[in-house]
Amino acid sequence: MDFLTWGRNPWQQQILTHVSWNLLWASLFAGIVFLVAHASYMVLSAHRKRTAAETDAMEAARTDLPDRIPRHSLAARMFHWVMAASMFTLLFTAFLPVVGIQFAWVTWHWMAGLVLTAAILFHIVHATFWMDFWSIWVGPSDIPEFKAEILRELGHEVAGPKPGKYPLGNRLYHLAIVFAGLTAVGTGVFMMSRVRTPFFTRDPYLFSDITWGFTYVMHGLAGVSLVGLVIAHVYFAVRPDKWWITKSMLLGWVTRRQYLQYHDPHRWVVGSKPGERARRA
C-alpha cells in the first residue's frame, strides 16, 4: 500500500504531490474498528459508576447548587456547531469526489475552510480570555486521573480523582483535534494561494515544489486523520450514555445530578448562582 504519491517537476526532480487516498480508507477503517471495539467493550466491561444511592446522597448534601449547572456558554456552543458544520462540509467536499461522487467542490471547500479558520480564531480568543483556558488541556497532573479511570474501567472502586469539567477522553480528543485541525487549516490557508479566490492574488510559486509537496501531504494527512476523529466524535455524541454531554452542547447546561454523578466537584467548582464561572481546583 502506498502512503504518498510522487511526481516530477520540469527540472526532473522527484517531488511529493499528495498523500495516497489509500489512507482515506485506512482512516475510515480505523474509525469504524474503534467504534465497534469500544461499543463491544462497553457492553462487556465492568465499568465502575457512581450508584444511584451515592449520587442521591451527594445531591442531598449539595442543595446549594442550582438545578441547572452551566457547562457551555452560548458563544462556546455556537463555535462548536459552526465548527462542526464547516468540518462536515470540508470532509464531504474533500472526500466525496475521491469515492466517486463528482461535483465542483473546490469553491465550497475553501469557503468552508475560511469559516473554520474564522471559528478557530474566535475560539482561541474566546477560550483565552473568557473561558477556563487550562480546563481542556492534558498534562502530567492528569496522570492520577488517568490511572483512576483505568482502574474504574476494570471494575475497581478507587478514591482517585474523577473528571473536572471535561472528562480525560474529551481532553485527549481535543488535543488530537487541535493538532489535526490546525495542521489542516494552516496548510489550507497557504494552499488557497494556488486557487482563484477573491482574497489572494494567485501565487503558485510561493513555495518551492518540495515545500508545496510537504504542505499538500500535511494537509492530506490531517484530512484523513480528521475522518477517523470525526467518526469517533459522532459515535460518542450519539451513544446513549454520553447523550447528556451532547445535550449540554445544545442547551448549555447539565443537571445538578449529572454534575455530581460524572464530575469531581472539587475539580470543577460551581458556584451557587447559574453562570458563575467554573474553576479548576
Binding site: 511526481g7 504531490t17 499528495h18 469526489p97 494556488r194 486557487v195 499538500y216
Partner: protein, 337 residues
Amino acid sequence: MAVIHDVMPAFELFQPTSVDDALALLDRYRSEAWVMAGGLDSFDWLKDRIKRPKVVVDLSQVKQLRGVRAAGDGLEIGATTTLTEVVSHPLVREKYGILMEAAEAAASPQIRNQGTIGGNVSQDTRCWYYRSGWTCYRAGGNICYADTPTAVNREHAIFGADRCVAVNPSDSAPALIALDAKMVVRSSRGELVMDAEDYFIGPGTDITRMTVLQPGSLLTAIRLPATWAGAQFYFEKVRDRQVWDFPLVNVASAIVFSGDRIERARLAVNGVAAHPMRLRKVEDAVRGKPRNEATANLAGELAIEGAQPLQHNGYKIPLMRNLVKRAIRGGDGTWTS
C-alpha cells in the same frame, strides 16, 4: 520535456469485435486499460511514454460502433465513424450542415480519414505543460504550470479555470451541443444517454478528465435529434494555421427564425474553457429579437461576461465576442446552410 521515442512501452493489445466484448475488457482492466479509436491522440501519449497503460483496447474491429444510420426522425452516428465519413454522409450534409462544417474543420484530410467522431469529442486537452508529462493538477499533481506569472498560456482558458486552465480542443463538440445531440455511454452497468453538454466536465468536477467517461465506460454513439435539423447554422473556427491546427476559439450556432425574428437558438463555443460552453444567456437574450447588428452586439457582449484572461490570452475575449456576434448575425452574410 517529453521526447518522442521510436518504440512504445509494451502493452497488451486487445481488438474486440463487439461492444460487449469491449466492455468486458474495460470492466476487467478498468484504469489499466486505454481505449483507442482512431489512435491519433492515443499514439501521442503512448509514444511520448507519458501514458503507460497495461492494456490497449482497440475499437477498430467493432463494426457496431461505425456508421451513420437513421434513428427515428434523426440520425445516430457510431462513435468510431471517421470524421471523413461524417463529413461526406448525405444526411449529415443535408440536415446537419453545422456538424459537417465542424468535422471538416478538424485537422487535415489524412487525420480525418483516420480520426473518429468519438475520438474527436473525447480527446484530451492540448495543454503543452500537461502533455509534456509534468505532474500538473491534471496529471495528478498539485500545480498548474500554465497558470503562473511566467507561463506561456496563449491557448488556455478564459472561463471556468479551477486550478487547471486547460481547454477542450474539439471542433465537433460545440456543433453537437448546438444540435442538442445525445451521447450514448455504455458500461457494464448499462446504458446512459445524456445531453452533449453534460458529456463534458470541467476541472471542478474532475481535474483529471475532460468527459464523463470513467474507467470501464465507453462512448458508443451520438444521436442527433430532428429538433434542429435544417435550422440556420453557423460554424467558425479561428486557428493559428489554416491548414491544420486546433482551435483557438470556435463557435457553433443553430437558429430557427420566425419571420425576421429569432424563434429559438442554441450556441456553443469551445477553446475557451475546459469544456465546450453552451451560451444559455445568449440564447435567452436573442429569442424573439430580429437578426441584426444590435442583437449580434448584445449576444457578443453577453457571451464574454465573466471572462478572466491569463497573462497571454486576453485576445480570446474580443475573439470570442466577435465570433458569437457572427454566429448570430452571420459572417459577411454567409451561413453554413
